[in-house]
């Protein structure tokens, strides 16, 4: 996460965990643990589709997924849980709108990149440039062009989320 400065050098590199289409907020933040603290919630992330994920994911790993990632409810705990596990970025064919907003709000980098689902397998290493939107599979050598993140979103992510940004703004002014 230290590479998340504004402008240049905004490149993430991490081991890939691959998921399919329509990964819902119910899977990302199961209702049974909805009101538990984040330390508990994060242990159950994605357990219904990949039971190994929560215990084996390492800080800096990235998620590659298909269409409509984060569909379902507006619960902010879904991106919060992924961030707590140290997921560096979610790169998907598309996101559910409120999930994408909430991800940026809690400081979890996201990138829309068409073709990404087919371009990666589990354990490949992905290189993601949030500023340019470029996505590399360093194992296959494949390169894709995602929708580069606009400056406004990158500024929120660089601050660590919208509340951190708010704090720094009100602290400064």
């Amino acid at each position: 996460m230290s590479s998340q400065a504004n402008g240049v050098g905004n490149v993430l590199r991490g081991r890939v965990w691959k998921f399919d289409h329509d990964v819902s907020t119910d899977v990302l933040s199961p209702g049974a643990y909805a009101i538990d603290p984040v330390e508990v919630r994060m242990l159950h992330v994605l357990e219904s589709v990949n039971p190994a994920f929560a215990s084996q994911v390492e800080p800096g790993d990235v998620i590659v997924a298909g269409r409509n990632f984060g569909c379902g409810s507006s619960r902010e705990t879904a991106p919060e849980n992924l961030k707590a596990l140290g997921v560096a970025c979610v790169c998907a064919e598309s996101f559910a709108r409120i999930f994408m907003r909430n991800a940026v709000a809690v400081g979890l980098p996201v990138l829309v990149c068409s073709g990404v689902h087919a371009a990666f397998e589990n354990d490949d290493v992905g290189e993601i440039d949030l500023a340019s939107g470029r996505v590399n599979n360093t194992d296959s050598g494949g390169e894709l062009q995602g929708d580069s993140l606009p400056e406004e979103m990158r500024a929120i992510l660089a601050a660590g989320g919208i509340l951190a940004l708010l704090k720094s703004q009100s602290g400064a002014g």
Partner: protein, 423 residues
Amino acid sequence: MGMTMAERVLAKASGRDRVTAGEFVVARIDLALLHDIFAAQVFSMLKAVGVDQLLEPDRTVVVIDHLVPAPTAEAATVHQQIRDDVARLGIGAFYDAGQGICHQLLPERGHVRPGALIVGTDSHSTSYGALGAGGTGIGTSDMVYALATGSLWFRVPQTVRFELTGELEPGVSWKDVILYLAGEFGADAAQYKSIEFGGPAVAKADMSSRLTVANMAVEMGAKFGFFAADQVTNAYLVEHGGQGSEPFGPDPDATYEAVHQISLSDLSPQIALPHQVDRVAPVSVAEGIAINQAFLGSCTNGRIEDLRAAAKVLEGKRVARGVRLLVAPASQEVLREATRTGILATLIDAGATILAPGCGPCFGGHGGLLGPGERCIGTHNRNFPGRMGSADAEIYLASPATVAASAIAGVISDPRQLEAGDE
């Protein structure tokens, strides 16, 4: 090149002459809505970041509607916190428990203006598009930022336009139209996008119908669900807020991602089958399925027009033995009007249980939950497993007339059959 309604709203809110789909803008928020599920949390998050006053308390509306009257001591405690915070922060527009559902109260009490940008901690904030406003749901962190700074970032969405023509047949309503569209185009048809509902059929739709449709635009993934503000809007505004409005719509040469032409003339009553809002079929497909509960209410279909449509079907009849008919008027105003016009008496005579104005069982918190294996047909907007109690219950979504006809028969029924049978 002209602008869509989404582009016009976001251009105005960001102080620009024009914006184009795909751009990011920082936009000023005209109105922020919080309800009892998230308000206390947002207020305590505000405190945690060191903000002890709102930038514009007069642009904030707080409604206690989901858990009313408080079903548990915990809910009552949260409501207390909200009341304290509302007073501390000087928020004037506060609707306490029992006054109605947020998405009903905001239009009804004159808070929604055409062209305004409105955010709510509730996904059905798309409802305000019925009056030509850009209404959308956001999370709690975004809401904290919006309340503290008065603005928020937005990506200007692409727009899908539905050009609706033809006439609805008797017994078919705009709820059937939006269910049909959700079924035909799918739950992610308008992901990140804005929808515009237009065409000659829309011009004839009353405000209640427009609210039903805009409410469920989010069921297709939409960020906004717009109707152009026209004479119908103007009349509604005058009746509900005092001040009318100029027409507000898209530019004639606006650019759309897609335009779909759809005739409504042959549409039959529709139903969403368990457990997805876009699993839609003509009611005839589900006819004869036994039900335990029928629910008339919610921000989708809890207005006086909806109660009237149901009362017309229920008049002089009784709800089938073994079926519970629950009615939750969308607001106190709706309840008052239903009382004044005799609609309420018709519903009660038919055997309905009248609940407090509010979300009622739609939220699944209380007030008529389902046991395992039970089936409910309701006028609300979501039928995910567990939405109304047991995850093993089934929820069907339909129009007020279909719900009323089914309540009488005890099985899912086409309201047109009942009317035909009477003659």
